[in-house]
Assembly symmetry: C2
Homo-oligomer: 552 residues x 2
């Protein structure tokens, strides 16, 4: 029996973010992307979420390489964590490599890692795989689709992309090459589902530039613009617009400064001579000569824009008349943070441009017609939608059906699920360990379901510790009960309740003594249950109750 190609996503299916797809044939594993995800509301205190790498660690000796499609966090954010487990070569375009190196430096991994850079059109071989970088358009330069030649056939893995006929730098997505691959025969297409719910075509990045031009033209006030730090094309357009209207540009916010530095060094950005200045140079400069590019498009409380709005920035404060342009849409979950900043900017008298319907932002992900064009060009036998919640994957499958792909050749997968591919068949076959690993502070994976459940409980109703010392001789009360509460109720206003809680505790312990119960677990559970009943009746709340009984 011939060997089969296994395709396993460890992230990015039925979830947004932490994208990671494994291609395995015989003794060779190729990993595509290793991203992070952001915690949802229930993941109290979690900083970031990364894929569960167990399967890859177990098959360490098979992993030949990690190849990266582009430099967004949801595709590279897990790199420091995976490279701590697997020391394998990495392949990426120069900008992606530069952004990964920033991360590795922070984690002290720069010396021990090998990153090979390639340009679109180039390819490399690892194990039985030959991987070609195909140029595509996206909201970050250096983004590529992958044409992966495997022993069972050619796989096209799009990564995140869109079709932009008028991109800011470089050329349109290499549709010719994708068509050529299609003509030669593509076995399977794995495609980005992010915008599959949107009909039509995405707008060109150039549209935003036109809007910037309108806003800069004739403006006599200071202009501040915030956008995603990684959107190098957007930043290029702001700089071009500033140069056109005789303004100089200062940059604030660490991630923005880092990315501009890397992008400029690598030639992904062109800064006209004399346009950049240090932030402290704005002092005494006329308002109509100033542009400030800043982080904070998501309303993050530590960002430069937030600090400028709330008088917490060392060098700049928002002044009446400032024109502030928010060139981004709020990522779900960030709406309220963004709102808060906008309100504060208004309050300080700034003129704020933020409406998502007014061409201040375009998406970097293909809409329905673009997705269909990719299918039409590559003409895949098999189709696997990637990157999305279930509804995205499902809607994407329906689109594939419309494009004439046979129902039995379309597979909606899930993280950890193994898909087996031959030249003629596709099927699900079992699964491998997968899941969400939580990073909290320096801890990776030491926060799990129990810890989160407790944090949620504490967040909702706070807690109450009740401390009693009893005699080891006869079980009589030596000291206490003492009560500590946090996050439950103002204790000073509820002294009667505290007294009652103590009485209930003493009575519960008395009851245990009366029934000759002496084991601590039973005594604690009796106290807890009595206190809990009383408190729920009295307050309709369920604080976490921790009885501490010590034998003296």
């Amino acid at each position: 029996m011939a060997e089969k190609l296994k395709i396993i996503s460890l992230g990015g299916l039925n979830e947004i973010g932490k994208n990671l797809t494994v291609y395995e044939f015989g003794g060779d594993i190729l990993v595509v992307d290793c991203g992070l995800g952001f915690p949802d509301d229930e993941m109290y205190g979690v900083d970031i979420v990364i894929p569960d790498f167990t399967y890859l660690v177990k098959n360490k000796n098979k992993v030949r390489a990690i190849v990266l499609t582009h430099g967004h966090e949801d595709h590279i954010g897990g790199m420091p964590y995976i490279l701590k487990e697997l020391n394998v070569p990495v392949y990426a375009t120069p900008l992606t490599a530069g952004l990964v190196q920033l991360k590795l430096a922070e984690h002290g991994l720069l010396e021990t890692s090998t990153i090979n850079t390639l340009n679109p059109g180039e390819s490399f071989k690892v194990g039985c795989f030959k991987v070609e970088f195909v140029h595509i358009n996206h909201s970050i330069p250096g983004a590529v689709a992958l044409a992966i030649k495997t022993p069972v056939g050619m796989i096209v893995h799009t990564g995140d992309y869109k079709i932009d006929t008028t991109p800011i730098s470089g050329s349109m997505i290499d549709l010719a090459r994708l068509g050529e691959l299609g003509n030669r025969g593509v076995l399977a297409l794995l495609q980005d589902s992010t915008n599959v719910e949107r009909p039509g075509y995405s707008m060109s990045e150039r549209k935003v530039g036109e809007r910037f031009d309108e806003l800069f033209r004739g403006c006599t006030s200071r202009i501040l613009v915030t956008t995603f730090a990684s959107n190098v094309h957007r930043i290029q357009q702001i700089i071009n617009c500033a140069a056109k209207y005789g303004r100089r540009v200062a940059v604030t916010g660490r991630s923005m400064e880092n990315i501009i530095k890397v992008a400029t060094e690598l030639g992904c950005m062109e800064i006209p001579k004399g346009v950049f200045m240090e932030l402290n140079q704005i002092k005494g400069m006329p308002a109509e000569k100033i542009v400030i590019i800043t982080t904070g498009s998501q309303g993050e409380t530590m960002s430069a824009l937030y600090r400028m709005a709330f008088s917490d920035h060392r060098q700049v404060e928002i002044k009446p008349g400032d024109k502030v342009i928010i060139s981004a849409s709020a990522i779900p979950g960030n709406e309220k943070g963004v709102s808060r900043v906008i309100d504060e900017l208004f309050r300080r008298g700034a003129e704020v441009f933020y409406d998502k319907y007014s061409d201040l932002h375009v998406s970097g992900h293909a809409y329905q017609e673009e997705l269909k064009m990719m299918m039409a060009l590559t003409k895949p036998k098999f189709f696997i939608p990637l990157h999305g919640e279930y509804r995205h994957l499902m809607t994407h499958s329906k689109l594939a059906l419309q494009m004439g792909i046979e129902p039995k050749n379309i597979v909606i997968s899930d993280i950890g699920q193994v898909i087996e591919l031959t030249g003629r068949s596709i099927k699900r076959n079992g699964s491998v360990p997968s899941g969400k690993v939580f990073v909290d502070g320096t801890g990776v994976g030491d926060v799990g379901a129990v810890v989160l459940r407790d944090r949620k409980h504490l967040a909702q109703d706070g807690m109450l510790v009740i401390i009693v010392n009893i005699s080891s001789e006869d079980g009589s009360l030596v000291s206490g009960p003492d009560i500590i509460t946090r996050g439950f109720i103002y204790v000073k206003e509820s002294e009667d309740m505290m007294r009652e809680l103590k009485d209930i505790t003493i009575k519960a312990l008395g009851g245990c003594a009366g029934s000759n119960i002496t084991d601590f677990a039973t005594m604690k559970s009796a106290v807890k249950s009595e206190l809990s009943n009383y408190l729920y009746k009295k307050t309709k709340r369920n604080p976490m109750i921790l009885p501490v009984i010590t034998e003296i």
Copy 2:
């Protein structure tokens, strides 16, 4: 010196929700609306937010009445709480009154409260005020604007409204009456700012009905529709559509059942004979005969739709082929919850219609052109924007400027701020107590800043209790240290750390003893600081640390 009219909002300015506006002249106070707000992300465990009533309680003897513009939660949700403090007559249209009565019944206040019902066009007098109900359009029937005749002049208080030339029941907003008021002279307009950011006109509610018709026509599967329970017109349209296509309708979800009952009794809804059925009647009925109207348009985990999707509903489970229509937009903060339900519906094979761009929902709040029309008709001398965050109020003021209202006659207020009005002048003059009062369980106001700060701390990093008993004679260790953690880390995987924590505690206490420190506060703070430093270094986390030291 002539007396002045004071206008004070205790809610609804620089915030969304908990609307309450006070009109005061001499010895008379009229309260307009008393709503609730929903807690934001930082208000851990808070159920609802209500206005601070201190000012009204202090001036109890002056409060003549509470008048309600309509029956939405952000306008009536605080009623049970204010009526516990002030027993004053309430004025409302019949449906608003019916919805308030449901609330009062839950709080056992029905017997002691007086609600007077009036219809649009009617008026009442209290103290020096004469209040007329003016018919307007909104997403709930029985919504009115108020024309308040005061000793200084006529005030128009719009409440929430829109202009719907083709409303579902009743007539278009009474523009004629508003124009008549304008011709006679309106001193001040207080207007809803919710949709002031949207250009143009809002769509008619009837549009949604047309979309329902498309979705019902020729459909052979079961249809489930969810919307806001209070949107009686929307529910009427679903029922009409069901009747048209020979389907019967069952309702699930408590708030939906309650509102339909009240609305039907009051004649605000017309149910064609034989259309309604009990939910258990759907058993054995052909799919093409069934419509289920359900709560859950915001993805609430306790709602009927959520329970049907997650197999937790006693009578209905979502089946492949079911057509589910989500006729609502997600309120900011609810996006993820709504997403979760949609994904689960897809997973069960339902066909889900939810796109906000496809006429499945229209807003009940006036857009810019409608707001301008109200200003043009009423021609107010003074303008005060209500209901909105600062950016809404500011944008609304700019709109008023465009409409020719003089800059000095426009006031952006804040909660608690006193605005004084004569026939010729408007000015701010001081403030009264105002703020957010948190309701958690049965507690009103017993959760404040300190409790919330603690809940946040606990939510982020959990906590650690360290218990030590020392001898009252020489301060030596009698028992412990014992450690309890919750929401911090898996203790079993960190036994070394626990041992270290104990050592650090013993050392810190030893240090205290060595320096002859015997007061507990200092000892606790020494232990806490040593443990905290160690934990932050080791884990980059800051759990709440509670040292418990008992002298035996």
